[in-house]
């Protein structure tokens, strides 16, 4: 394969990396707490892709046992792992949002700079 073909063959990893870096950038660069949580969610979603895309075996079918002994199945384990990770992500997001609601009640703002400035005084 030429160099260009080799890069294109890994397109799933390129998408994963793009989402990962975008998510991390949002977490670092945005001071609005809700936006930070969205960035965190984006970052976690990219990791789901990292697991699932290699799980598809070329020429593989759905992982339900058939009578054909020569059948090639796709790997079901990454899907199980990612279901767990999605649940963890949902729990993290809900806890983060609950914290932001309380911070808004106490400080009157959800911008991290403003909240930290109020604590300085």
């Amino acid at each position: 394969m030429t160099f260009g073909e080799e890069i294109l063959a890994h397109y799933n990893h390129w998408i994963t990396i793009f989402l990962m870096v975008s998510g991390l950038y949002i977490v670092i660069a945005r001071s609005n707490m809700i936006k930070t949580l969205v960035g965190l969610g984006l970052f976690q979603t990219s990791v789901y892709l990292l697991y699932i895309t290699p799980g598809k075996i070329l020429g593989g079918t759905a992982p339900i046992i058939m009578d054909d002994p020569s059948a090639v199945y796709s790997n079901p384990l990454p899907h199980v792992l990612i279901l767990t990770a999605i649940v963890v992500g949902v729990a993290t997001l809900s806890l983060g949002l609950a914290l932001v609601v309380r911070i808004n009640e106490e400080y009157g703002s959800i911008e991290e700079d403003e909240v930290l400035a109020k604590d300085e005084t």
Partner: protein, 494 residues
């Protein structure tokens, strides 16, 4: 007996069920009592497991009867048995302290929720240590982390909310980095079980995927570890959380992350891959020294005694990773035994400060002037534990630093011994500063009315303080076990 063969599962199931039961309760005292019963049952189970491991070797328990590597395996060897017993013992000792301390800092109707979160955190921490499956570690890691974030947010000060939020962001990034590492390892080897991973990584060698996985793993776990410079969440989280939560977390949460790091470095990746092919030793050494000196210096200038102790924790974690970076028998023993010693010391320090907060309502150093004259026994406990942090011979801290120094000398880096001693001198400054304010100034308005705390709070403090002295004189339980764990890890056996 049926129960004894199911002990590894019971170690996790009992606190988990306890947490669920606690969530249904409406009375704070009943919830505390349930948490007390569960916390006291944990060291019994962990002690039984440790005894069994010391007699007949590692225990392997297949969850649900599914054999590893297809099923999830719970594996107890000397190192995990040691950590299990340590975590459950700390939880058991400090539980009587919680009744008055937590009730004074958290609203009456939220008390059952607090104990629910505490039991969930205990479940998660014990689960990380006992499991032998890499993804199961992530599940328990997040169980303990999420309950930690919520526990911290329940602190009285409104800054606890911001501290919990920042910890949530950083901790979730760390956990996700860990998941990335496991994903890379899984795509390279096809398995998630630690022993199977160790065997297959040996076949794969030092490919770029393994290097990337090692890097992501180190960064992810270091975020949970509060290794410099990823420690930013720790001072605020420890300062503003409820005192009981701070004492428990300071003793256990970062130590479990250290357990994970050691487990992956020595049992999964292997000594050769990590320390000989990649410069992990040098990187960890530099970061450890930065933590030891930087955090100690910052601790000296704090106005809040809980924040001072939090920065002290960051420095002490630097000592532990220093021991890991040395990666020889003495160094690793020093690291593991400091996990145990620092847990006891920091817990007793935070409990003593918590008693002062309980009596006066403040944790600012200047407001606590003269507190030693009104709470003499508590302050005496603080002094003894402080001597242990400094590393005075006869206390537990000295044992850890001795092993670390011997490890550094064995590697031929004698200048590291000087640095070790120099950073201990820094801890003299910040401990001494508080002792000077507490004993040698006349009592301030807030500390005038204080007196020693009630027995239920006093006994855990004194127990832990006596522990810091006892384990400095008789090291058969702590350092010898740590030594056996270290030789098992370095020998590559699990």
């Amino acid at each position: 007996m049926i129960v004894s063969s199911q002990l590894p599962a019971l170690q996790i199931v009992i606190p988990l069920l306890g947490a669920v039961l606690c969530a249904f309760l409406r009375w704070g005292r009943v919830a505390w009592f349930l948490a007390l019963v569960v916390s006291w049952a944990m060291p019994i189970i962990a002690g039984a497991l440790l005894m069994q491991v010391l007699e007949s070797g590692p225990i392997s328990y297949s969850m649900g009867g599914w054999e590893p590597p297809w099923g999830i395996e719970y594996r107890v060897d000397i190192f995990s048995g040691f950590m299990l017993f340590f975590i459950s013992a700390i939880g058991a000792v400090i539980m009587p302290y919680a009744r008055l301390s937590v009730a004074s800092e958290i609203d009456e109707d939220q008390l059952p929720w607090f104990y629910t979160l505490y039991l969930l955190c205990l479940t998660g921490l014990l689960g990380i240590v006992i499991t032998g499956d890499a993804f199961n570690v992530f599940v328990f890691l997040e169980v303990s982390s999420l309950s930690t974030y919520a526990m911290i947010a329940m602190g009285k000060d409104r800054r606890a909310l911001v501290a919990a939020y920042q910890y949530l962001i950083m901790g979730s990034i760390g956990a996700t980095f860990y998941v990335i590492a496991i994903g890379l390892l899984y795509s390279e080897t096809g398995t998630l079980n630690f022993i199977d991973l160790a065997a297959r990584i040996g076949d794969v060698g030092t490919s770029r995927t393994v290097l990337a996985a090692l890097a992501f793993l180190t960064v992810g776990i270091s975020l949970k570890l509060a290794l410099f410079p990823l420690h930013v969440w720790l001072p605020n989280a420890y300062a503003f959380a409820p005192t009981f939560a701070t004492a428990f977390l300071a003793a256990t949460a970062t130590k479990v992350a250290i357990y994970l790091l050691i487990r992956f470095y020595f049992s999964v990746f292997g000594f050769g891959t990590v320390f000989e092919s990649f410069p992990v030793s040098q990187i960890l050494l530099v970061l450890s020294l930065a933590a030891m000196f930087g955090a100690s210096v910052v601790a000296i200038f704090q106005v809040n005694v809980k924040r001072m102790l939090a920065y002290s924790s960051v420095a002490q974690i630097g000592y532990i990773t220093f021991g890991i970076a040395l990666a020889n028998q003495a160094g690793l023993t020093g690291g593991i035994v400091h996990v145990f010693n620092h847990g006891i010391i920091k817990c007793s320090l935070f409990l003593a400060v918590g008693a002062m907060v309980f009596r006066t309502g403040t944790s600012k150093i200047d407001d606590l002037a003269g507190i030693g004259r009104r709470m003499p026994i508590t302050m005496a406990g603080f002094v003894v534990a402080g001597l242990s942090i400094i590393g005075v011979p006869g206390t537990a801290g000295f044992i850890s630093k001795w092993y670390l120094a011997v490890g550094a000398l064995e590697r031929g880096w004698w200048w590291l011994v000087f640095l070790l001693v120099a950073s201990s001198l820094l801890s003299v400054v910040y401990i001494g500063r508080f002792i000077e304010v507490a004993w040698f100034r006349s009592p301030s308005a807030m500390s005038e009315k204080a007196c020693d705390p009630p027995m239920t709070m006093m006994v855990p403090i004194l127990l832990l303080v006596m522990g810091t002295v006892y384990f400095g004189l008789d090291t058969s339980a702590s350092a010898d076990l740590a030594g056996r764990a270290a030789s098992a890890l370095l020998g590559g056996t699990r």
